[in-house]
């Protein structure tokens, strides 16, 4: 990977971090409502994996912690922030919110609130790819907690049985809200849980984007060439609470501090500085430019654009012409 791409990746991770931090501020100012699940600490997962996918062509689906998956899939940050602000110009026209981002134009198929719900949807996308004989793949990002749902086991079985081209990415951040993984799950190594379904799997560090990318490249190629599922577990950690209403009291200071040392942005930045790809000054300038862009373009846009019209509240329940009659 050349220096330009490395700098771009660093910028993307930093943009993701600042974007989420700005969301937290807007939440405190009550410009964003509802449940808000932020991504700091896990940036190398979505960005590293999707760097190796054909975004815009491959189909991507995830849960409620979905902002960065949407951005890296190609969603316009303005449409994303406008959605969080509940505006008509939002990616879901203000009807979805943080947990329900959609952008079918770039094949970002959503944002879902029910833990485990997207597993079968991802397999369904792959089924259509298979019927059409396409070369795309379907990529499903979910957490460690989701693997205790029936849909995990049911979908692994069918995806393997029917040779569906799905890449399952498990972002194992060691917790499902406040419940530590070993208190909820017998086999804590998630990649081992798909072996009975005959699915190839691997586990790797999710904090070092170079490691993520090298595993993701193999995984993406495997699914694209073999036309069958693959499961990749990324070991990661969220640096904030589960959502804005979570104090995080169930984790020790030492544990959080230890993982903060392994911040994916810190790891990558140090590497690029040591290699002479960026200087500290450039990094700070980059950070400043990102924060300016978020403030002056993204947030301002979200604030200024209009809300949906109340008269349109029942629009989109059905499609136009949904009452088919010949």
């Amino acid at each position: 990977m050349d220096a330009t791409d490395q700098k771009r990746l660093l910028r993307e991770m930093l943009f993701a971090r600042r974007f989420e931090e700005r969301c937290a501020e807007a939440y405190h100012e009550r410009q964003i409502g509802g449940f808000l699940h932020l991504y700091p600490g896990q940036e190398a997962c979505a960005i590293g994996v999707l760097e190796k996918a054909q975004t815009g062509s491959d189909y991507v689906v995830t849960g409620y912690r979905d902002h960065i998956h949407a951005l890296k899939s190609g969603m316009d940050p303005k449409a994303l922030m406008a959605e969080l602000f509940g505006k008509e110009a939002g990616c879901s026209k203000g009807r979805g919110g943080s947990m329900h981002l959609f952008d079918p134009d770039v094949h970002f198929m959503g944002g879902y609130a029910l833990v485990g719900g997207p597993f079968p949807l991802a397999a369904g996308f792959a089924k259509v790819i298979q019927l059409r004989g396409g070369q795309e793949i379907s990529i499903c990002f979910l957490g460690d907690g989701a693997n205790n749902q029936g849909t995990f086991h049911e979908t692994m079985n069918m995806a393997s049985l029917w040779k569906l081209p799905v890449l399952f990415i498990c972002e194992n951040n060691l917790y499902g809200i406040g419940t530590a993984i070993e208190r909820a799950t017998v086999e804590i190594n998630q990649y081992k849980r798909v072996a009975p379904y005959g699915i190839e799997a691997a586990q790797c560090d999710g904090q070092d984007i170079d490691i993520v990318m090298s595993h993701a490249e193999k995984a993406v190629n495997y699914v694209r060439e073999q036309r069958k599922p693959y499961f990749l577990e990324l070991m990661t950690y969220r640096l904030r609470g589960h959502s804005m209403s979570d104090s995080g009291a169930y984790r020790s200071k030492e544990e959080v501090e230890e993982w903060a040392q392994r911040d994916p942005i810190g790891i990558y930045k140090r590497r690029l500085v040591e290699a002479g790809v960026v200087t500290e000054e450039e990094f700070h300038a980059m950070d400043k430019a990102i924060q300016d862009e978020i403030e002056n373009e993204v947030v301002r846009y979200a604030m200024e654009c209009p809300e949906p019209r109340v008269e349109d509240v029942a629009r989109y329940v059905y499609t136009e012409g949904g009452n088919h009659h010949g």
């Binding site: 879901s92 203000g94 609130a113 079968p120 949807l121 369904g124 049911e154 989109y316 012409g321």
Partner: protein
């Protein structure tokens, strides 16, 4: 015009739609090699192959979700749930994903998904195989729910459901698959909305759907020949959305209303129709509307108890006589 059985109407609709569009496919338990529990997909496996006539494992929620995901990419899956009782396990994907995706994506993603469920009380199948779930489906925003009472509509509603861009649940009836009736030889679509007058009359409107249409027709005949009461029989057919105007039009003509449903009463078609009558045409009524319904019990095995739990034509006659003070 050919005489077909109910199951043959469903089979013909599958066959025509699958021949027309390569992205129409069927999935469900035992629908392929075995030909379907009620033969409604027999012969399709040999004709269209295992990619499009899919025998699924017993994983209702996830194969429903695979169908939903496929629909989101423009395929038109017809998912058969072997018995409506098992649809409870698929409610998450149906209700949280299929029904809501179009709305919560601000109209950006359509879900042309069809679920077929053999429902109702057959004979002595016991409490866990005799559920009627129309009240559940018809209470969900974003779904369409239709209930064929005749072979013609078993054919015509499936045709329309496949073409509709909305998710549609078709509630069939386990006791009606061998019912015979005329089906037009040419292609035919039954609208997904609107009531149908099955027997015009001037003295009372009897609202029914699915199997209860036949009870109502039997009752109307008896009421005419033995008591000189001219009942209008209305097939509600679409339970979601209900045809408010069609219901009101009949009541304005007859000034009396009775609803007969196979489901138990608390929360259901009867209460909903009466609410609509209250809202639309209360002052046209000459008598309080009446409902005839199943008892509020899990359906018993014993044949006498089962019969007592489910209404029939005689119950309709008795209720109408009482309304007329006979």
């Amino acid at each position: 015009m050919a005489e077909l059985m109910y199951w043959q109407g469903i089979l013909r609709a599958h066959d025509e739609e699958m021949a027309r569009d390569p992205l129409v496919f069927a999935m469900g338990e035992d629908i392929g090699v075995a030909g379907g529990t009620y033969k409604a997909t027999s012969g399709l496996f040999a004709k269209y192959g295992e990619q499009r006539v899919i025998d699924t494992p017993i994983s209702e929620n996830s194969y429903t979700g695979i169908g939903v995901g496929a629909a989101m990419l423009g395929a038109r899956p017809i998912v058969e749930i072997m018995s409506v009782n098992f649809a409870w396990l698929a409610m998450d994907q149906l209700m949280n994903n299929a029904a809501k995706i179009h709305y919560m994506s601000g109209g950006r993603i359509r879900c042309p998904f069809v679920m077929r469920v053999p429902g109702g009380t057959a004979h002595q199948l016991g409490a866990q195989h005799s559920a009627r779930m129309e009240k559940v489906f018809m209470g969900i925003s974003g779904l369409r729910v239709v209930t064929p009472a005749t072979p013609r509509d078993a054919y015509g509603l499936l045709k329309s459901a496949v073409r509709s861009d909305d998710p549609v649940v078709i509630i069939e009836h386990e006791s009606m698959y061998n019912l015979k009736g005329e089906v037009p030889d040419e292609e035919f679509f039954t609208p997904l909305e609107g009531v149908e007058i099955m027997r015009p009359g001037k003295d009372i409107s009897i609202f029914a759907y699915n199997i209860s249409v036949h009870w109502a027709l039997d009752a109307a005949q008896k009421l005419a020949s033995e008591y000189g009461i001219d009942a209008e029989v209305i097939d509600l057919r679409a339970l979601k959305p209900l045809d408010r105007a069609g219901i009101a039009a009949s009541v304005r003509k007859t000034h009396r209303a009775l609803i007969v449903e196979e489901d138990e009463a608390p929360v259901g078609v009867g209460s909903e129709v009466i609410a609509i009558i209250n809202e639309e045409c209360f002052f046209d009524l000459d008598a309080a509307p009446v409902r005839v319904h199943a008892l509020d019990v899990p359906i018993p095995y014993n044949h006498r108890l089962e019969k007592a739990a489910i209404p029939n034509a005689g119950d309709v006659v008795a209720a109408v006589k009482k309304m007329f003070g006979r």
